[in-house]
Amino acid sequence: MSRRGRRTPWFAIALAAVGFAFITLPLVGLIQQVSWGSLVDDLRTPEAQAALRLSLVCSVWAAALAMAFGVPLAWVLARVEFRGRAVARALVLLPLVVPPVVGGVGLFYAFGRNGLIGQYLWDWFGIQLTFSTAGVVMAETFVALPFVVITVEAALRGMDRRYEEAATTLGARRSTVFRRVTVPLIAPGLVAGAALAWARALGEFGATITFAGNIQGRTQTTPLAVYLLLESKPEIAIGLSIVLLTVCVAVLAVLRDRWLGTG
């Protein structure tokens, strides 16, 4: 907005202001509904405690699984040339855009008791994933995985691969190169991927309720509890919402320098 430069058009400012207000007003609406005095007690209720505990356990598991499979997946997509790589990448990123409820339906027909693989899991091992905590972890991993792949693949493509070459000329085997050179050089990408995956898993709703159901203490995670309690016990729903909001703000703050730039 320098005086010597061209003027910023007023309608751009106006539209930007509307957009900004549209994003921030719901936050204000949420925060002004919080009854701060009873917040701690609301979060100590059995429903809230069960939901928070389950969410913490499931989201950490989901983030760990997303890293365990997402990092190798990103490595293959970034480093191995094969036919159909572009298609494979597009498919891996699909959960980013597919409605979570559709993902849940897909999970149901793949891993449910009558599903593609699920029927054998049930027939041979007696394993049922639907309506179980494991099902929650699967649904959350499903939506979180692309965040790991997208950030780690970008980090792998962005790093100077000549450092890896330098390491091999020094006698390092592939696994040593990966552990001692590649991983430290892409560490910011790994941290960002894990944090985003965890935040996404924590907030997952649609795939979870479709695939795993809504059983308190077993599959009712915090977002599900918020939805369910909003009418009967709104103060608990609002308290839980504030917890989720705070966690997301914290993740954004952590990633600000490393991933989103400091601008």
Binding site: R162, T168, T169, A172, L185
Partner: protein
């Protein structure tokens, strides 16, 4: 032959097909323009680019034959100093130097002890705990060299080891590097596009142009008899080694050359053949250097003639065919060569 390499690699528009041999204790400079395939040749020897045809052997052990044999880089007795050095930014200087030993299975304590000794040899013991980004260009180059040599390779490859440095530090680092290379007993191959690096560091030149070796030999041979105009432009200069005193350079045989400012110590004096004028009679005038001699060689390449003059100060002069004809020069003719002091460039050896 300690190193015998015949490297054929096709890479985009480059068709590299170059042969190279070298003995222990010898430094060979690969010189050529950008895109000639110098770095690709180096990568072939390091194992970073498998060769399509040819053969690479060290001490008679085959490392790559373009077919069944391919020893991966981590199992070759080869150390590499990369352009920009590529010190691992997340490791300390000491950990960088110890990296090769750790990767090859040396225990932590022993690796640290040997890395410390290697840093001591390059005079950087005090900087062991520092991260590479805090090093100057010259220090980084020494660390890269220590890192490459600590595993005791048989072949040391250096890719433009001085290109990342500014002109003022370059001469000093070049001198250090020569001393360091002298202490390494294996084969040293140096890629550079700067003939001064080649002159100061190498025993022998291999000139690469568009993927082919166009000429090889000692610097004196190649610069005295460049086989193409490109080689003549690149290295076809008079390079005289001597000791500088004030504005004079004393050559080992006692002859002297006057320069505008010679400095002190061991130097190279460079005189471009185009700056050497030839006369049948002793000339009078401003040139401070008037040197007597006898025509020894006459090489004609298209529109220029290079006349080699033997005498206390051996020089090559580049003149036109018309001048050659006018002066009536043939081998054995006595001539006077004149060079202005301002045309004598000095750089430390």
């Amino acid at each position: 032959m300690s190193l015998a390499a015949h490297v054929g690699i096709r890479l985009g528009t480059l068709a590299l097909d170059a042969a190279l041999t070298a003995e222990d204790g010898e430094t060979v400079a690969i010189l050529g323009p950008n895109g000639a395939g110098k770095t690709t040749l180096l990568r072939g020897m390091a194992g970073l680019a498998p060769i399509d045809a040819g053969e690479i052997t060290i001490d008679g052990i085959r490392l790559d034959d373009g077919d069944e044999v391919f020893v991966p880089p981590e199992r070759r007795p080869v150390g590499v100093v990369f352009q920009d050095y590529l010190l691992f930014p997340h490791l300390s200087v000491l950990e960088n130097v110890a990296f090769g030993l750790r990767s090859r299975g040396t225990g932590r304590g022993a690796a640290r002890a040997r890395a410390t000794a290697a840093l001591e040899r390059v005079g950087l013991t005090a900087l062991g705990s520092v991260k590479p980004r805090e090093l100057s260009g010259g220090q980084a180059q020494r660390v890269a060299l220590a890192r490459a040599l600590v595993t005791e390779p048989r072949l040391l490859l250096l890719d433009e080891p001085l290109a990342a440095l500014d002109q003022t530090t370059r001469a000093n680092v070049r001198r250090d590097l020569r001393a360091q290379l002298g202490a390494f007993g294996g084969v040293r191959i140096l890629v550079t596009h700067d003939p001064r690096d080649a002159a100061a560091l190498a025993d022998r030149l291999v000139i690469l142009e568009a993927g082919r070796v166009v000429q090889s030999g000692t610097f004196a041979d190649v610069s005295a008899h460049p086989r193409s105009e490109y080689v003549a432009d690149l290295v076809g200069m008079n390079l005289l080694r001597g000791t500088a005193r004030g504005d004079r350079v004393e050559l080992p045989n006692g002859a002297t050359l006057v320069a505008a400012a010679a400095g002190a110590g061991d130097v190279f004096a460079v005189v471009h053949p185009r700056s050497v004028s030839l006369h049948r009679d002793h000339p009078t005038g401003s040139p401070r250097n008037v040197l007597g001699g006898r025509v020894e060689t006459i090489d004609a390449t298209s529109d220029r003639v290079r006349v080699g003059i033997g005498g206390p100060v051996p020089l090559v002069a580049e003149i036109t065919p018309a001048s050659l004809h006018e002066l009536g020069l043939i081998e054995g003719t006595e001539v006077w060569a004149s060079v202005k002091a301002t045309d004598v460039t000095i750089f430390p050896a």
